[in-house]
Symmetry: C2
Subunit: 279 residues, 2 copies
């Protein structure tokens, strides 16, 4: 199959490596000529260009740009491609993109491969990034079933786990298990920074160990990612945050009341539930 990839970063570049290994012909587009050259050099694409017109003969196009560029990229692609070209994206928020994109293109399906590394850019591209990881697709009632079948076939070829849900279901799920942890974790770091007693502040830095390290990891990450979550998944995130505040408040009340039995119950429940979320 002729497959196009727009945006040759970690995800786009890694996708290209696997698709070419599977025997597909991969055509890449990047805003920078130097990235196009690198993508060709590492074997991520067969050919690449800074010009979207190169996508003319593709049957499937995967938009792997940052979220803010997904809809503008789709609008620029439409005049260049044939009407049966299936177009998908890999953005980590789905409802705001899918709603608009589906009205522009009948063969658009939202997608979100749950894969990544701490690195970014074409230099970070690796083979088998998607193997055994969930790959969510979010078709809506008007999405062409042939397009869904085609995308699911590619996901299976990548040895990823295809999952299908509504865009809003996806956004609510990632809000609670991915975006909420960032805010919860960042607030923890902020609390430890703001300690007014300088002896306590210094000792905290000396004593922090694995508990602080793990709980603070995502809150000390790339601010751009945190802003992206807050900006594009704002409503779902606010609902998660409100629910979180409520649950924290409950725990604080139990500590205030010295209700050790109910605190035990609370922590037994969380201990028992956590493995359900951990693969």
């Amino acid at each position: 199959m002729n497959i196009g990839i727009v945006g040759l970063g970690l995800i786009g570049g890694s996708l290209g490596l696997d698709l070419r290994s599977l025997g597909h012909y991969v055509i890449g587009v990047s805003r920078r000529e130097s990235t196009c050259q690198k993508a060709i050099a590492i074997g991520s694409v067969d050919e690449a260009s800074v010009d979207l017109s190169i996508m003319a003969g593709t049957e499937l196009i995967v938009i792997c740009t940052p979220i803010a560029n997904i809809l503008p990229t789709l609008e620029q692609l439409i005049p260049q491609v044939s009407s049966n070209t299936v177009i998908t994206d890999v953005g980590s928020v789905k409802a705001p993109i899918v709603q608009k994109a589906s009205s522009l293109w009948n063969n658009f399906i939202g997608g979100h491969p749950m894969a990544g590394t701490a690195d970014s850019g074409i230099e970070a591209a690796v083979k088998n990034l998607f193997v055994k990881n969930p790959y969510v697709i979010t078709p809506i009632d008007t999405t062409n079933p042939t397009a869904i079948a085609l995308l699911e076939e590619i996901i299976k070829q990548l040895k990823a786990i295809p999952l299908r849900c509504y865009p809003k279901t996806h956004d609510k799920a990632v809000s609670s298990i991915s975006h909420l942890p960032v805010m919860v974790s960042a607030s923890l770091i902020k609390t430890c920074i703001l300690e007014a007693d300088t002896d306590v502040a210094q000792l905290s830095k000396n004593l922090a160990s694995s508990g602080f390290r793990d709980t603070s990891r995502v809150g000390g990450g790339n601010p751009e990612l945190g802003i992206m979550m807050a900006k594009y998944n704002r409503q779902a995130l606010l609902e998660s945050l409100q629910s979180y505040q409520h649950n924290l408040e409950e725990l604080i009340n139990l500590v205030e009341k010295e209700d050790w039995e109910q605190i035990d119950e609370y922590l037994q429940v969380t201990k028992k539930a956590r493995p359900l979320f951990i693969k």
Copy 2:
């Protein structure tokens, strides 16, 4: 030196292994005869008994029992030992213990080695558990300086990093970097469990990855530890929780106001600060 260890679990057992390697004569006490036998078998103690009278000839005694048993153990030790015996503990909360213990025994010094593994019990005892880890001691104005010198010498022999502070300073520091993360993390798990939409709840379990895994780790741990923190460090923990609520509220307000610039500032600060706490 003749050194006594009361409570032969992970900490007591590991301490014995190292002290014997250093050439000290180690005498252990456990409530269970079977634990005494295991401690002897693994080389953690030279001799062991269920009877505290075995401690009569020791120069230093380390109480490694659960927090609730530290003060009762001290009271039972006092009639058995000579007045110049230095007694210390390894409890993770200091002010409530040190205040009472110091009034009972002039040669008492609170201690807290920042070391542990996910396992517990004498079976989990390992060599070099304390190496390069902070070991806090919390002498007060009335503590005998000779006792402080003796304990610090042993800490140095263990190749741990001795840190000295007031009991309350210790409790405030561990509250923010150790006990607060448990509550923050448990509330995250609770929020993810309580999702009412069954499709979202199921998808959350399928999509949860490293961000959720790390942020939820300590909140899914042993409930007994969480209760112990809340019970013995209640006041400091409540202060940390209130400060945390305030900082979370600030972040929520910024998301509500769509103030991306200030969210960026908030997350830049947390990103920059985190490495100060991570060794």
